[in-house]
């Protein structure tokens, strides 16, 4: 019995190692996905691919342009993990999803600071990029504390002691003791940051441990900045339709694109089925059939893609309040362009694959990689720069940007007010579709001959 079993194993192994698709799925796909996930997770944890802290962009709009405001900007620039970019229209950039967070230093910051008051700052944030927001907030804290408390701590401390009836004669000595203690804490903070930069600590993602002992329920993102005079503003609340959730918007955009790719590649596989069952030959023997076959298959894919998206968004509208009706026109246009691009991708896969098995193996690998790089699984801005660059070459990223732009940011097809339009994404998707379909047509002609056409 054992001999027979071994004999079977040998035979199955021989077949397995000759099956390129099986090898691809069993050996290459896990490596690719683990690499993509691992690198992205590392990025989300704040580490760069080189092991240090991955800097995240922070837009700073300095309307005060005083010595104090410039000092704050300099502290932020010196802070590990923050890539300061100066701008003049912070609200618009956050509103359009170009940056996750922006710090606005309003007029009067310098004067308030000189007067020994805690000066006011405004932190504009995009709640749909909460991970970036959390990490950035945590990384800004040392600079904000040093700048705000550092400048105001003397007058504040003296005022506090006077209010509590502390003997006036001891106020100078008490302030000296406070200064010594503050300097020690600043040194400790710098030391801890250095350790984080060396990777000896988890990155500065706030966790439950960051909350005060006893579970006071303090909101790190809002309460701590508030103590430092920072007013936090969410600037991307819905302007159209019912209240929205960034998570729901992202999930529906991601699933729409990823599942569309899977179903349309499967649909394109009917071309290979036709080849296997001989009907493709019969079709090719119809006068002028060459282009008609490709067009017919593409329209078929477009039909099932449209049906799939309609069902998905209707479900989202009724169950998750996805704002479909107020954005119907934009969603229709984006869906049309996405379906067109994905249909082109499906046809390209089908015309280059020899068998359905080969089609399924290669397409699974590429769809999953594109989904990861294109932001369907985790925020693109948290991934390494290389991945963000690669992501721009995926249709997933363009489609995700367009859907998310409409569903979350309330963008229209054309620019409106401070909002950009999504027409560039739509145009890129259409261009991708055209290129992929032309490549598919060329491959189809080469493979099946064009005489019958």
């Amino acid at each position: 019995m054992f001999q027979t079993a071994l004999h079977l194993v040998r035979k199955d192994l021989r077949i397995f190692f000759r099956d390129r698709t099986a090898l691809l799925l069993a050996l290459v796909l896990p490596i690719v996905l683990a690499t993509v996930f691992g690198t992205a997770m590392k990025g989300m944890a704040g580490e760069s691919s080189g092991g240090g802290i991955k800097p995240l962009p922070l837009l700073v709009e300095d309307r005060d342009d005083s010595e104090a405001s410039r000092s704050l900007v300099a502290r932020l620039e010196a802070q590990d993990g923050i890539l300061v970019r100066k701008g003049t229209d912070a609200h618009s950039e956050v509103r359009n999803g170009d940056v996750a967070m922006a710090l606005v230093i309003d007029k009067g910051y310098g004067e308030q600071s000189a007067a020994g008051k805690i000066p006011e700052l405004r932190l504009l944030q995009d709640p749909s990029k909460m991970l970036s927001v959390q990490v950035l907030t945590a990384r800004m804290m040392p600079a904000l504390v040093q700048q705000t408390i550092g400048n105001a701590k003397g007058p504040l401390f003296r005022s506090f002691l006077a209010d509590t009836g502390f003997p006036v004669a001891g106020i100078d000595r008490a302030e000296g003791m406070f200064q010594t203690m503050f300097d020690g804490m600043t040194g400790l903070a710098a030391e801890l940051q250095h350790e984080e930069a060396d990777g000896s600590q988890d990155a500065a993602v706030p966790t439950d441990a960051a909350k005060p002992a006893g579970g006071s329920g303090m909101d790190f993102l809002h309460d701590v900045p508030k103590l430092l005079g920072v007013k936090v503003e969410d600037v991307t609340q819905a302007t159209t339709g019912p209240p929205k959730s960034a998570g729901v918007s992202h999930a529906f955009a991601a699933m729409a694109v990823m599942m569309l790719m899977f179903s349309m590649v499967a649909g394109a596989g009917t071309l290979l089925d036709e080849q296997d069952q001989g009907t493709l030959l019969r079709l090719r023997l119809v006068p002028r059939a060459g282009d008609a076959i490709l067009l017919g298959k593409t329209l078929f894919l477009a039909s099932i893609g449209a049906l799939q998206l309609i069902v998905l968004f209707l479900f989202g509208m009724f169950v998750f309040d996805v704002p479909v009706l107020p954005n119907l026109f934009e969603l229709a246009v984006i869906s049309g362009a996405t379906v067109f691009a994905v249909a082109g991708m499906g046809m390209l896969f089908a015309t280059y694959s020899r068998t359905r098995k080969q089609l399924e193996g290669s397409s699974t690998l590429i769809i999953l990689a594109m989904s990861a790089l294109g932001g369907a699984w985790f925020p693109r801005e948290m991934t390494p720069d290389l991945f963000q660059t690669l992501g721009k070459f995926t249709l997933t990223a363009w489609a995700m940007d367009a859907y998310h732009g409409v569903l979350w940011y309330g963008k229209r097809l054309w620019p409106a007010g401070e909002l950009n339009g999504v027409w560039p994404q739509v145009a890129v998707l259409m261009a991708i579709g055209c290129v992929l379909l032309l490549l598919a047509k060329s491959a189809f002609g080469r493979r099946f001959g064009s005489v019958a056409g």
Binding site: G278, L281, L285, P287, V451
Partner: protein, 283 residues
Amino acid sequence: MEDAISLSGLQRRFGEQTALAGLDLVLHRGEFLGLLGPNGAGKTTTLRMISCVDRPDAGTVRVLGCDPATDSPKILARMGVVPQELALYDSLTARENLDFFAGLYGMPTGQRRERVGWALEHAGLVDRASSRVGGFSGGMKRRLNLVAALMHEPELVLLDEPTVGVDPQSRNHLLEMIDGLRGKVSLIYTTHQMGEIERLCDRIAIMDQGRVVANGTLEELRIQAEDSLGGDHRLELQDGAQMERAMQILQREGVACSTISVGADLESIFLATTGKALRDGEA
């Protein structure tokens, strides 16, 4: 009137492999031509040239008076091809399959309905018209496969092993269907079943190594093949009862005799012409 098909000096290579090496072949109008050959002889490549799917490296092809290189739509509109594979959609019913294939030729709805009715009747599938093809027997599928190629009333029909894998009854029905096309179409029939060729075809062309090595009616082929059949002589008997007496006479006269054959059959001719070595990998 020009021949239905005229192939002259056709050459076709696939890499190092020669599929056609100067093929000459003619199909006269209204004629049924049997195309025989071992695997790799070039039959499929020849059919691909005729059906405008492939082009020769050299030589000329004329089909229904047209050049496939420039007039393929004209040719394809007048030609029906029955591929070796069962080129049908299993998920569709017999009627839906036929309606689809008729629709490909731009037939109006009324005419399409009429042709579907004719095809179902002709294939003996009226009772199963609304059944999905996936549940059909091999014979039923073969019959449907045949009539699907006739929906647009072609004047030239190419049949590539149309009876593979069917039982004798279905084979007989198929052959009767094909025979029923006589006088309406010109036809090329490829198969490895010699009996089918003998039954259907007016003329037979035997191919080997990319060219026609024998060509003519069955009688002509018999005469051509006599030499290659060796030193055998034919003894025609009136009936089987004379066989025993003939053997006794031959034995008494000391005539060595290993085989008694009542006329050379087509298979003998075929094997004598092309040899008995196995051929793997059809071009």
